[in-house]
């Protein structure tokens, strides 16, 4: 492949949305209330829509016969390069919203920078997605506040969720080889520059929600290199089932 770095770079962006979209989508019919159920699946739909644009572009760059669906459905676990944060399971609603919030803050600031990319396709996708993702952030921030500043039980559940997921936040700002190459070409976003503002923004919302910002300095990593937590395998088994069982099936 001629443009391997760009291809890998696009997957690095898109896989996060695919895996988080799948997590949210699996709440269909299982949300804690009808409104939150619909909200989670609507966000899932937005993320899948964005993923299609990214994978179509990646398929074009690959220049062989692969399609967006091949990229989404037919890779092995180690070939997915999403961050560990987004593959964490829907343990309870506080956990689901904390995961969403910790990703949304990053996602929005990332897209705001990606809009300035020299690559016009990536810039257009970012510009389109920002409108959707700012709505996601509004929704997840709202739930952090409602549960954090809610009852004693909801506060404890949200604090546990933030504490549990905190270890996955630092990885958002790790640079891969593809990242470095694309930053050098003016196409990619330098994620290291987003880190400070990210933690400030997160802390501001946590403060407002009467939640403690964790102080742990030990962080997990590996997702961006394809080394995942045990949860991703199970997620992919479900995501890929139809394409594996009935190769090339179409709706």
């Amino acid at each position: 492949m001629k443009n391997k770095n760009l291809y890998n770079y696009i997957l690095g962006i898109a896989d996060n949305s695919l895996i988080l979209g799948q997590r949210l989508g699996s709440l269909t019919g299982h949300g804690p209330s009808l409104e939150t159920d619909i909200a989670c699946t609507n966000m899932s739909l937005d993320l899948f829509g964005q993923v299609r644009s990214y994978y179509q572009y990646a398929a074009k760059i690959a220049g062989d016969n692969r399609t967006e669906d091949d990229i989404a459905m037919l890779r092995k676990e180690r070939e997915y390069v999403n961050v560990l944060l987004v593959e964490q399971p829907n343990t309870d609603f506080a956990y689901t919203m904390a995961r969403q919030f910790l990703f949304d803050v990053y996602h929005l600031s990332f897209l705001q920078e990606l809009q300035k990319s020299k690559d016009l396709t990536l810039s257009a996708i970012a510009n389109k997605s920002i409108k959707e993702v700012s709505y996601h952030l509004r929704f997840s921030s709202d739930w952090i506040k409602r549960l954090g500043d809610g009852t004693a039980v909801s506060h404890q559940k949200m604090q546990d969720a933030i504490d549990g997921l905190w270890t996955y936040t630092d990885e958002l700002f790790h640079q891969t080889e593809a990242d470095k190459a694309m930053v050098a070409e003016g196409i990619g976003v330098d994620v290291t520059l987003l880190k400070e503002a990210y933690y400030e923004k997160v802390k501001a919302i946590l403060d407002e929600s009467t939640l403690q910002t964790p102080e742990s300095k030990w962080f997990q990593k590996g997702g961006k290199e394809g080394v995942h937590t045990e949860h991703l395998g199970y997620l992919l088994a479900e995501l890929q089932y139809m394409q594996r069982a009935y190769p090339n099936m179409e709706w």
Partner: protein, 187 residues
């Protein structure tokens, strides 16, 4: 994610020439095609034609082929494939073959819904989008600005930020008690 046989591929060129098309906010639509396209509606909001919705960006006749560019309201809007199919069959019935492209830039905004489209939404029972500044306060600070499409009262409240489709939020009127959809503002 899995494909329909005839789904629309998003148009994702990055050449200079395309970038000019991608940055214009003006529609370029051949007048002959307008009456045909006005008969095609959004499958999820049947009273709203795709022309009044502002999703058709370009429609030109080149020899025997009509070339159409449409843009999605939301990235994941599942109606786009159906809209593409409906445009093709409407044009076929009028004697034209067509090619449909989905473009992402410039990104769709609720400002492109025509006044006639806004009226059709209201008549159908969906509150039309307010301006962007109003929208944030409506959603987050509980201000009562959205007008109930049933009784006209603004004594309404947000029930859920997400509604029956990606483009709508759920509201309820505290005067007539009717729940209704509000078309979210997108800029």
């Amino acid at each position: 994610m899995v494909s329909r046989t005839n789904k629309i591929e998003c148009h994702l060129e990055s050449s200079r020439e395309v970038s000019i098309i991608m940055t214009t906010t003006e529609q370029n639509i051949d007048e002959i095609l307008i009456p045909i396209l006005e008969k095609v509606s959004d499958p999820e909001i049947p009273v709203l034609s795709i022309m009044d919705m502002g999703v058709v960006r370009t429609a030109v006749i080149e020899k025997d082929m009509v070339k159409i560019q449409i843009t999605p309201t939301y990235s994941g809007c599942p109606a786009m494939d159906v809209i593409g199919d409906d445009i093709k069959s409407a044009l076929k019935a009028a004697g034209y073959d067509s090619e449909i492209e989905l473009i992402l830039a410039p990104a769709w905004t609720t400002d492109w819904i025509t006044p006639r489209g806004r009226k059709a939404l209201e008549d159908y029972g969906i509150a039309a989008p307010l301006n962007a500044e109003a929208d944030i306060s409506v959603l987050l600070e509980g201000k009562r600005l959205v007008k109930c499409p049933q009784c006209g009262s603004t004594n309404t409240r947000l029930v859920s930020q997400f509604g029956s489709t990606a483009c709508k939020a759920q509201f309820q009127c505290d005067d007539c008690q009717e729940p209704f959809d509000y078309f979210k503002c997108l800029k």
